[in-house]
């Protein structure tokens, strides 16, 4: 049990009734917050306080609360998932903040991620990109070949696994000054393109996924590297370069267009 002093904080929270509402920042005070509590627990305390006052609680996304589902979002004090590296908001603890501090809490900002309510945004654009090509076509007749029958260099397997750790949280889009989704899409392209099972449909996949990415209204990558820094899973910019290679190669060499 920690004996650290509780934190008194001023919260500036984005409130928006629905997708049609214009929305605005509201100011709240929370007192005696344990430095050991997580940021989401602090939000729970705020909501209990608001409910007690007869006010509408702040809507925010959360699910596993252990950094693997990618559901919790929030742009905290000017950074996706707040200060700290390779963490999601549920892994952010209040000890990162000082007593008396003002904390800005905003939703992911991107045209492709419309606000549903308060801090909740619709990340369906990522699902539609995945549906366009983020899979491999496998015969499920019952005679599926054992994946281990295919020899794969350890280096390639590791790179594919690194890319596959992307949890699709959208921090890359939120952090990018251009709201580009290229780190996400490139991770999904790479996790397949690096493995023999994924190479079969590699050209078609990258073309289809990039097409949907562009249609959804994400911006263009200008290589600032903000996405890589803010990514809770440390997805590397190498993936974006790989996607660029795959896409240019597909455009130049493939005999069909998607």
């Amino acid at each position: 049990m920690s004996t650290a002093q509780g934190l008194n904080l001023t919260l500036k929270v984005w409130r928006q009734k629905n997708n049609k509402d214009k929305g605005q920042m509201e100011t709240y005070q929370v007192t005696d917050i344990s430095p050991d509590s997580s940021f989401l627990e602090m939000m729970d305390i705020l909501n209990e306080q608001l409910v007690g006052e007869g006010k509408e609680p702040v809507a925010f996304d959360h699910d596993c609360r252990e950094g693997i589902c990618g559901t919790c979002s929030m742009f905290i004090n000017g950074e996706a998932h707040g200060p700290g590296r390779e963490i999601t908001t549920c892994q952010l603890h209040m000890r990162e903040f000082k007593n008396g501090e003002t904390i800005y809490i905003e939703p992911w900002r991107a045209k492709a991620f419309p606000v549903v309510k308060d801090l909740v945004v619709d990340r369906g654009a990522f699902d539609r990109i995945m549906a366009a090509g983020g899979f491999i076509s496998v015969n499920t007749s019952g005679n599926t070949q054992d994946a281990n029958a295919l020899p794969i260099p350890k280096y390639d397997a590791d790179r594919a696994m690194d890319a596959a750790t992307c949890i699709g949280c959208g921090a890359c889009v939120a952090s990018c000054k251009n709201s580009s989704a290229m780190l996400f899409v490139s991770a999904k392209v790479s996790q397949f393109a690096l493995l023999p099972q994924g190479k079969v449909e590699a050209a078609e996949r990258v073309q289809k996924m990039v097409k949907v990415m562009d249609e959804e209204g994400f911006g263009n990558c200008s290589n600032t590297g903000a996405c890589e820094v803010e990514c809770p899973k440390g997805i590397s910019l190498e993936n974006i370069a790989r996607m660029n290679r795959e896409f240019i190669k597909a455009g130049a060499a493939s005999e069909h267009s998607s």
Binding site: R109, K111, G219, N244, S254
Partner: protein, 224 residues
Amino acid sequence: MSWFKQTWNSSIGRKFAMALSALFLIIFLLQHFLINFTSVISEKTFNEISHFMGKNVLVQFVMQPILIFGVIFHFVMGFILEVKNRNARQVKYAMNKGEANSSWVSRNMIYSGLVILFFLGLHFYDFWIPEIAHKYIEFKPENPNRYFGELVHKFADPVRVGIYALSFVFLALHLLHGFASAFQSSGINHRKYSPMIKKLGKLYAIAIPAGFIFIAVFHYLNQH
């Protein structure tokens, strides 16, 4: 959709085209610097090379139009991408700590680019338009020794040298991000070579603009 349109009209295609024009301009800038630098070493060599560049058919009617196209393309595409990127976030953050995750130069390429565009306007007014008028409108008799004097004359005014130097500082800022970024956009990112490309980019971004400033200051001081 044709493969050509699908590839080049996409976000990645545009970035690749932007990167290719950038790499072309980087190579052009190096040769421009090397030629200008001969003016510091030898008036005769500078005049000889300048005369060759000014009279050679390949340089004048093939390379020059490609260069002008490359410059215009880079600027126009830069603006198109900037407008598209701004449009991708219609509601801005109340607090956005860009400095926590990215460099100032990478976030402000449009502004360093605008200063360079302003400088190019001045450069065209100063050099290119009089040069074209001299050769193709007024058809003045060619003097193979006129180039050095013309160059030195441009650097007589301290205000002009100041604007010139400041513009090259912005070019350095643009290149500090742009050099390595052009490789990344082209898909060239390799654990073995990328650290070297980044170092080379920093060296180029500082050395070449500093070299141009040195040439300007050298000729200014020689006249005063």
